[in-house]
Every structure is written in C-alpha cells, then in structure tokens.
C-alpha cells in the first residue's frame, strides 16, 4: 500500500521526458516546415481534411439541417411583419421584371445584330458547401468538388449573384474556398461608372475594405464593384458588390453574394487571360528598317 511514489516517478520520469521532448520537437519542426515551405504542408492539410470531412458528411448534413430549422422557427414569430415586407418587395420586383424583360429582348437583338459568340470556355461546376473554416479567425468554406473534377487553385467561386471567394487548396474530393471576407483575401477590382481600379481587401468583417484606390472623389456609395481580372489569375467582369462608406468615412464593399446562407457554390473554369508578350509597336505604314536605309 505505502509504496514510495517518487521512486516510481524516477523510473518512468526520464522516459516520459524524452518522449515529450521528441513530441515537442516534432510539432515545432512541423510548424517551421509550414513557415518555410507552406504549399507542401498546405497540400498535406488539404489531404487530411479530404479524408476527414467527407466521412462526416452523413452526420453533418442532418445536424446542420436541424439547427437551421430551429433558427427558422424563431423567425416564425415575425411572420406577419415579414409577409408585409415581402409583399411590398414583390411589387417593386414586378416593375424590375418588366424592365429586365425589355432589356433582355434588346440585348438579344443587339447580340444578333453583331453576330456575337459568347466565350464557350467560360463554364462552371457547382459544388455543395460541406463545412466552414471552423474558427472565427478564418473565413473559408469547404466544397465537395476537388481535383477529381478538374479544379485548380485560384479559380473564382460565385453564388447565384456575386463573387464569393477564390479556390485555395485543392484535394482529391474537396476544395477550400477563401471567402472575400477573410483577412488574407485580396481581389483586384474596378468601380463601374468611373472605371477606377482598386483592391478589395478582406479584414474579417462582413464588408471588405477598398484599398489602393487612385481617386476616391470619383467613387460614391452605391457604385458597382466588379472584378477587373488584373494579374491574370482571376476572370474579369464578375459582380462583387456595391460601394458603401462606414461611419468613419472609409470606403467598403457591401458584397452582392448572400453570405448568410452559402449552400451551393459555382466554381468558374478559368483558363487564364492571354498575356501580352510583345512590346508596343506603332501601327502604321511599314517603314524600311534602319539597316536598309544605310
């Protein structure tokens, strides 16, 4: 009964300490490798997520559904008020629908007149959101399409209306989408009426900041922000949102995509913009070259 405990401790102590230092060494080594050679470790991370998360999908889908149902249940209390709001919105929408139909017809006529072929290479794959980033410090979601479906890092992701984020980290069956709200997200964009170029920079808040704007006088709240395709990684002309000013006067973007419920995401296949390789040349009559003149 009265065994000497310190004696037992002496026996296992060094072994335990050795094991612990080996573990600590491995973990810190892993961190340093991540810091030095991030893509390799990120690939490993994508692989781990790929083996782990899809296996949980059978449980995740019903639990998410149930919790969302309960959330909706709370909103039933405001049903009458919501109904009234929806009715007035519907009236406005009908007016818009008329306008849209007329514009669509006009657009079709003009396209026909010009004999325009829309880019057939701009196609998309739709994926279902499997999981979110799991921590409030990062804004990303995991979707159920991956390298198996031909996804490539850097492709744009949209919901029905606006840009949602960018593919970053592709595993076999899953891919991670870094949302525009993530602190590491930077997207080159253009403000529509004035044509000012800028960067939409996420900062872990619901509305990303507008950065590197040339002339902020020409940009007003309400202007449309679309992706510019600068840098060639990202397709141009995708709707991002509207400009808005926060209380301190800083310009931000109210995102067009519905971030409340990201369920289905569209991944746009993008095969890169054609780079301009030759230098500028004057277009004009062919002049004899200097060697010939001499």
């Amino acid at each position: 009964m009265a065994k000497d405990k310190s004696n037992a401790n002496d026996f296992t102590g060094p072994l335990r300490r050795l094991l612990l230092s080996v573990l600590i060494f491995c973990l810190i080594g892993f961190f340093l490798v991540w810091r030095i050679d991030s893509p390799r470790v990120e690939r490993f991370r994508a692989h781990v997520t790929d083996t782990f998360v899809p296996n949980l999908n059978w449980a995740m889908a019903p639990v998410t559904g149930t919790i969302n149902l309960l959330k909706d249940f709370e909103s039933y209390q405001r049903l009458a008020q919501q109904n009234r709001e929806l009715r007035s919105e519907l009236r406005q929408m009908q007016a818009w629908k008329e306008a849209a139909l007329q514009l669509e017809q006009e657009n079709a006529r003009l396209l026909d007149l010009n004999n325009v072929r829309l880019d057939p290479r701009l196609t998309y794959i739709t994926g279902v959101v499997l999981a979110d980033s799991g921590s409030p410090f990062r804004q990303s979601v995991l979707i159920n399409v991956g390298a198996r479906d031909g996804l490539v890092d850097g492709w744009a992701t949209m919901d029905g209306i606006g840009l949602v984020g960018r593919i970053s980290g592709v595993a076999d069956n899953t891919a991670r989408v870094i949302l525009l709200t993530d602190a590491s997200s930077r997207i080159p964009a253009i403000v529509q009426p004035s044509g000012q170029r800028m960067i939409v920079a996420g900062d872990n808040s619901a509305a990303p900041v507008i950065d590197f704007l040339e002339n902020s006088d020409q940009v007003r709240p309400g202007h449309r922000v679309i992706s510019s395709g600068d840098g060639g990684v990202f397709p141009a002309g995708l709707l991002i949102g509207q400009v808005a000013a926060d209380p301190s006067g800083k310009l931000r973007v109210i995102l067009a995509a519905d971030y409340q419920r990201l369920e289905f995401l569209r991944v746009l296949r993008h095969h890169g913009t054609t780079p301009v390789t030759d230098t500028a040349e004057i277009i004009g009559p062919q002049l004899p070259s200097p060697e010939v003149l001499q």
Binding site: M1, A2, K3, K5, R16, L19, L20, L23, I24, C26, L27, I28, G29, F30, F31, W34, R35, V41, F44, R45, V48, T49, F52, V53, L56, A59, M60, V63, T64, I67, N68, V129, L130, A131, D132, S133, G134, S135, P136, F137, R138, Q139, S140, V141, L142, R176, L179, T181, A183, S184, N204, S205, A206, Y259, Q260, R261, L262
Partner: protein, 174 residues
C-alpha cells in the same frame, strides 16, 4: 495492472478522442459563414486540462499531440504551434496533478487559467516572431476569457457525466 483497469484506460482514452472529434465536428458545421463578433471557448484545451489534472493516464502525451495537431489542421491554424504550446501546458498540469489532487477546485481553476494565458501569450509572441498574420486581438482575448469561464462547466461534465475523477489516495498503488 489487471485486465479490467487496462480496458478502462483504453476505453477512456477513446472517449477523450471522441470528445475532441465531437467538438471539431460542431466547429466545422457550416452554420455561420459571415464573420462573427464573438467566439466560443476553446473546449478542446479546457477538456485536455481537466482530464490532465484528474487522470493523466487517460490522456497520454502522444494522443494529446495527435489530437491537437488534428485540430490545428482542420481549423486552418498554423499547424503545430498551438498544438505544441497546449501539449506543454497539459504536461505541466500533469506534473502538478498530485499537488492539485489534494487542493481545492479554486486552486486548480487558477492554475488552469494561468496556463491558458501562458498558451495564448506564447502563441501570439511566436506568431509575431515568425511574421505570421496575427488573429484579431479582440477575438483572441474574448476566446481566452470564454475558455477560462467555461472551465468549471467542462470540469462538471468531466466529473459528473463522464466519471473522470481524481484518483483517491492509494488507488494508483495497486
């Protein structure tokens, strides 16, 4: 060590792994995709501390290291760093477990809180030194406080529901 205690130890080790997986599972559910102003507590750390104080043999260092690393990978943190610090803190608690076993709960809570602050501070400092983007300051502090406040609750669940109690004097000697 007879057969029954051995199965019990392995059973409890498995239970701990299951708890961690459950916490991760609820973290990963795609419920909230908009940025949030508040954070829940880091339950994995709280559970690891509570179990380390009570029954160090249920949470061996390799298992803790593996589970923390898994959490790092799945929750999109810099892999390895948080795991390393949390492992160090848990091992520190284990070495003090004998002293804490006889003390009051307030004493244990205080020790756990001090270690949580140490982990959070060291994490920030090391991220700063290695020039990694720091998580938002307000959110980190909020998470730390939430974890501290949730510790008694985690202990209650550990003690009451899961039956992980401090070893009675003499129980370890057999």
């Amino acid at each position: 060590m007879n057969e029954q205690t051995l199965t019990r130890i392995w059973g409890m080790r498995l239970t701990f792994a299951l708890i961690v997986c459950l916490v991760l599972f609820f973290h990963l559910l795609p419920l909230e995709t908009t940025p949030q102003r508040w954070v829940g507590p880091d339950l994995i750390l709280a559970f690891a501390f509570a179990w380390s104080v009570r029954r160090p043999e249920y949470v061996p260092a390799p298992a803790l290291a593996g589970l923390f690393l898994l959490a790092d990978l799945l929750l999109f943190r810099p892999p390895g760093l948080w795991a390393m610090l949390a492992l160090l803190a848990s091992e520190n608690l284990k070495s003090r477990a004998r002293g804490l076993r006889d003390g009051t709960f307030a004493n244990e809570w205080l020790t756990a809180c001090i270690l949580m602050v140490f982990v959070a501070l060291a994490y920030r400092v090391l991220l700063m030194v290695t020039l990694v983007d720091l998580p938002p300051y307000g959110l980190s502090v909020f998470e730390l406080i939430a974890t501290m406040l949730s510790y008694p609750l985690v202990v209650a669940v550990t003690h009451g529901l899961l039956g992980v109690r401090k070893a009675a004097p003499g129980e370890l000697d057999t």
